[in-house]
């Protein structure tokens, strides 16, 4: 090993604390990069493979009841590769030991063959035996949630009739990666089931013998979906087509696609912040090192080493720190990625999800860290070049503070000398101080914004379940019923109040902008489920006109006063022209509201309801549930408390860990900056500190001179961090809000408090580490050295 390399390792060992802190910042940046891009690759590849292997349809075409020969008509539409017809319907499952019936979706499987499209992955048990109407295959996550075994019997109400089924297999399917009960947005394995049954059995149950009520279509490679959708709608129109839609509009795919998009955005935005901080730290640390070693540099040059050789020596130091951090980051990223894959696996039902990092992620992780580190290092190397041996070996002149002159007059009189020393150093190195302030502020802003957004979910819960929906139980019917059906519910045990509602599927259109959703009809003085305005006040449903959720109005680019086209997908499928009356605040979904009687009138169906919101006596719930199970028209019952609890649970599991990670991010960046700044200030000022001690300053007073500068940095960084976090939270909220859920941006003091505490703690720890060294300063030795 050359003597210079030996010097390199010994120098690194000497500054191991600082080098470690920088490597840690690099490591976190690389770890996030590796984890996120790895997760991105894993999710995308797993999803695509899963979709392909189990032949997920490109187009879903629900229809009321179409004869089987229509499938041949669909198959010849140009661009269509294959077609499958199936029967699907809602069911209520009666689970032993549980009063509330569970909503389920039943799907048919063709006899004697695999389905052409939308296959399923049988994880346990066996396939259905043709002709056995009592056999079912159950969604495995649901089975797991209720501890159901193969051979167990299930009791289900389908189309008003109670039937008993035997479980023969457990399966997952690509169309159920993400399962929520209809109308809900949070997955809850226990509260929604999928059953696969023989075609005959379902045809009998739903009275669709010789017909299908959902067509699945796959497209030829490169075929444009729009003309195919139009052709399908035209073909199915007379059979009650409910509007064909693409895979991208399918709930399960929507959720996972949003997740992947979010991950992609984050993976591009977050790691660069760490790299920037690392580059800044390397710059200030190596600058200080070069300054302290100027005599050695002069000497080495005097011996005959070239500028390049000497520069390379210092550049190697940058490289070692960057590469060490990057390697640490790669390992950390893999570990974190595996843990994250576990979380994803619990939310999205992949049959397998192997966390796999694209080797390119490693390459780019290491490459990016080396590049950013070099950027910091290069600036310093200019100084190494500039040093001539003669200059380098002369003792350096005292640092010149005369340029801080303008400050001097003002400082006089109201500041003591130590405070002046602190302030003059701040003003002499404004760039360094600014860099440190900015670095800490960005780190803090990043974590406080993320935390703020996460805490905002509480608002989502409060608004959704406290203000908008104040019912205890929501009941939905299989099909639109006369209003009497809703009022019959009032006679069930424990029911205090009933509020009927009518929801119809519709495509909302404003020029080129359209949205496939539904219109909810509310009663005139809605109390249990309402539309509210910005001030949380009730919006009176206008006699004519429609009220749109803000997210929906944004998608449709429409404002109050404009006219909206509503293509109803049910009944006589009228196309309505309605004026937008006002905008409602919602955070879950993108609903549109009309007055129920107006909606019914426009539909040409008088006095119809599709469900009802109930206020009930909680003591009588079990009896009520029993009674509901016996009511044939009821398709589903959901308790608001359960929806809220499911959402809360999801937030809590993710949030606890995220809160910690976010605080750690702020903490690590702060620690890296404060600790390094402190070490550097200490290196530059150790003689000053020793002099102060000799003059008779106490340890505390001497430490103030050094740590005061850092206190200023931290005190400046915290308000700036709050400002950055505040605006960043709007960006994040806007970036992550979709029509499925909107992220509210509310100033959350706790979020900023947590991040600020992490910053202060990290500063205190680094200050304490350096204070220990100040206390250990050998007064005599320090004063006799020439800097």
């Amino acid at each position: 090993m050359s003597p210079l390399d030996r010097k390199l390792w010994r120098d690194l060992w000497r500054i191991k604390g600082q080098a470690g802190a920088i490597a840690l910042v690099v490591a976190v940046g690389v770890a996030l990069l590796v984890m996120m891009s790895g997760m991105l690759t894993s999710l995308t590849e797993t999803r695509d493979t899963y979709y392909e292997r189990y032949r997920l349809a490109d187009i879903f075409a629900p229809v009321t009841r179409a004869p089987l020969n229509m499938l041949e008509r669909l198959a010849v539409i140009p661009g269509v590769a294959s077609v499958e017809g199936r029967i699907q319907g809602g069911a209520l499952l009666d689970i032993k030991g549980q009063a509330l019936p569970v909503r389920a979706q039943a799907l048919s499987l063709p006899p004697h063959r695999e389905p052409h499209l939308n296959g399923l992955y049988l994880s346990d048990g066996q396939k259905l035996t043709p002709g056995r109407t009592e056999e079912v295959i159950l969604l495995s996550s649901f089975a797991k949630a209720h501890d159901l075994q193969l051979g167990d019997y299930l009791s289900a109400t389908m189309h008003g009739a109670r039937r008993s089924f035997r479980i023969v297999g457990f399966a997952t399917a690509p169309e159920f990666l993400f399962t929520t009960a209809p109308g809900e947005f949070v997955p809850d394995d226990a509260r929604f089931a999928v059953l696969w049954m023989n075609e005959d059995a379902l045809a009998a149950a739903y009275d669709v013998k010789g017909a299908f009520n959902e067509a699945l279509i796959s497209l030829e490679r490169g075929a444009r979906p729009e003309p195919v959708l139009a052709a399908i709608d035209a073909a199915l129109d007379r059979y009650g087509g409910l509007g064909a839609y693409e895979r991208g509009d399918h709930m399960s795919d929507r959720f996972i696609s949003e997740e992947i998009n979010g991950l992609q955005a984050t993976s591009l935005a977050v790691p660069p912040i760490f790299m920037g901080v690392a580059a800044f730290l390397l710059y200030i640390v190596i600058t200080r090192l070069v300054q302290a070693e100027r005599e050695q540099i002069g000497l080495i040059k005097a011996f005959g080493y070239t500028d390049w050789e000497v520069s390379l020596h210092y550049f190697k130091m940058v490289l070692v720190i960057a590469v060490a951090g990057a390697v640490m980051g790669c390992l950390l990223g893999i570990w974190a990625g595996r843990a994250m894959a576990g979380i994803y696996q619990s939310v999205y039902h992949f049959p397998f999800l192997v966390f796999r990092v694209d080797p390119q992620s490693f390459v780019s992780g290491v490459g990016v860290s080396i590049l950013s580190a070099s950027a910091g290092g290069m600036l310093v190397l200019r100084r190494v070049f500039a040093l001539t041996p003669a200059v380098a070996m002369r003792p350096p002149a005292p640092m010149d503070f005369s340029r801080t002159g303008a400050l001097n007059e003002r400082l006089k009189g109201w500041l003591d000398q130590p405070s002046r020393m602190v302030l003059r150093r701040v003003f002499r190195n404004p760039g360094r101080i600014l860099g440190a302030v900015l670095g800490i502020a960005v780190g803090m802003g990043l974590s406080s914004a993320q935390l703020s957004v996460m805490l905002g979910f509480d608002d989502t819960l409060d608004l959704t379940f406290g203000v908008i929906d104040r019912s205890d139980v929501a009941v939905s019917f299989f099909e639109p019923m006369p209003a009497k059906a809703a009022f019959d519910l009032a006679h069930l045990p424990g029911v205090i109040e009933v509020e009927p509602t009518r929801a119809v599927g519709a495509v909302l259109r404003n020029g080129l902008n359209s949205y496939r959703g539904s219109v909810t009809g509310l009663v005139e003085d809605a109390r249990l489920n309402r539309a509210v305005n910005k001030n949380m006040g009730n919006i009176d449903m206008p006699e004519n006109g429609i009220v749109l959720a803000r997210a929906l109005a944004d998608i449709l680019k429409i404002a109050p006063g404009d006219t909206l086209q509503v293509e109803v997908l049910e009944g006589k499928r009228p196309v309505l022209e309605v004026k937008v009356a006002s905008i409602a605040e919602t955070l879950l979904g993108s609903p549109a509201f009309m007055r129920m009687d107006t909606l019914n009138r426009e539909m040409g169906e008088w006095g119809r309801v599709s469900g009802a919101y109930l206020r009930v006596d909680s003591g009588q719930l079990p009896v009520l549930y029993e009674a509901v199970k016996e009511t044939p028209s009821v398709a589903g019952v959901s308790r608001r408390e359960d929806s809220r609890a499911a959402m809360q649970k999801l937030m809590d599991t993710g949030a606890g860990a995220m809160r910690f990670v976010m605080a750690a991010i702020a903490g690590i960046i702060t620690f890296g900056i404060v600790y390094n700044s402190a070490r550097i200030a200490f290196g530059e000022q150790s003689r000053d500190l020793a002099s102060l001690r000799v003059i008779g300053f106490t340890r505390g007073e001497a430490s103030f001179v050094l740590l005061g500068e850092l206190a200023i940095v931290v005190l400046l960084a915290i308000p700036l961090g709050i400002g950055i976090g505040y605006y960043l939270s709007f960006l994040i909220a806007a970036g992550f809000s979709t029509d499925l859920y909107q992220i509210p941006t509310v100033f959350r003091p706790q979020a900023f408090g947590t991040a600020a505490i992490a910053v202060v703690l990290a500063s205190l720890i680094s200050g304490w580490l350096v204070k220990r060294d100040i206390d250990k300063v050998n007064l005599v030795a320090t004063l006799k050295t020439r800097e």
Partner: protein, 238 residues
């Protein structure tokens, strides 16, 4: 020795050992010494003879391994860190070879650094005039010559009205002209303020201006001389 004048320092068996076992270095080997108040004392001796170590211990910068060092009847060797800080703050002025000024403070502010914490300081302007720097008090160290910086250091050391002024190679980094000017200042401080001045130096000629000269070798005092007639710094051969 003169029995009428009280002693500033008395040491008995003062010993300092660095390290342990076979690697131990005996910097002081049982030094007995009395320094009367108000004298200029020059400590002479080769490098490593122990003179700086003695200065550091009685200056409150370092601790003895054994023995006693009394400052006006207070035992420095028994003092806590806090008490030693107090002692330096109230009684001691230091001047070093490399000045050790705060680069971020002007000449005046460097002196104020001390007057702010001292019990009975002198006027800052007066301290700077004493060292002949009345004109340049608002300059930063970077704007001054070596001699000027050293004079600021002396002003800073004397501004607290110290009982004792320790100077470790005060002229070591200066040319003869500036060196002499610095010695003049030290002479004045002794004469006008009555402070005991202890100077550690390699330059044997400096001894001619002292009341008392202590010769060090191998961690012990070889001999002590008193000058009947003292020379002015101008007369010292450099």
């Amino acid at each position: 020795m003169n029995e009428d004048i009280p002693n500033t320092f008395v040491t008995k068996g003062l010993t300092k050992v660095y390290g342990e076992g076979p690697a131990a270095v005996h910097a002081l080997r049982g030094v007995d010494l009395e320094i009367p108040r108000g004298e200029i004392v020059v400590l002479l001796g080769p490098s490593g003879s122990g003179k700086s170590t003695l200065l550091n211990i009685i200056g409150g910068l370092d601790r003895a391994s054994d023995g006693v060092a009394l400052f006006e009847d207070q035992d420095l060797t028994a003092m806590s860190d806090r008490a030693l800080t107090r002692y330096r703050r109230d009684h001691v002025g230091f001047v070093f070879q490399f000045y050790n000024l705060m680069p971020s403070l002007t000449a005046r502010e460097n002196v104020e650094l001390v007057t702010e914490i001292a019990d009975d300081p002198m006027d800052v302007d007066e301290a700077l005039r004493l060292v002949g720097l009345g004109e340049r008090m608002d300059h930063f160290p970077a704007q001054m010559s070596g001699g000027e910086q050293q004079r600021v250091a002396i002003a800073r050391a004397v501004a607290k009205n110290p009982t004792v002024l320790f100077c470790d190679e005060p002229t070591g980094a200066l040319d003869s002209k500036t060196g002499r000017a610095v010695l003049h200042v030290l002479n004045d401080v002794n004469a006008k303020l009555g402070a005991t001045v202890m100077i550690v130096t390699h330059a044997a000629a400096t001894a001619a201006m002292a009341h008392r000269v202590i010769h060090f070798a191998d961690g012990a005092i070889r001999r002590v001389e008193t000058n009947e007639t003292r020379l002015s710094p101008d007369e010292i051969a450099w």
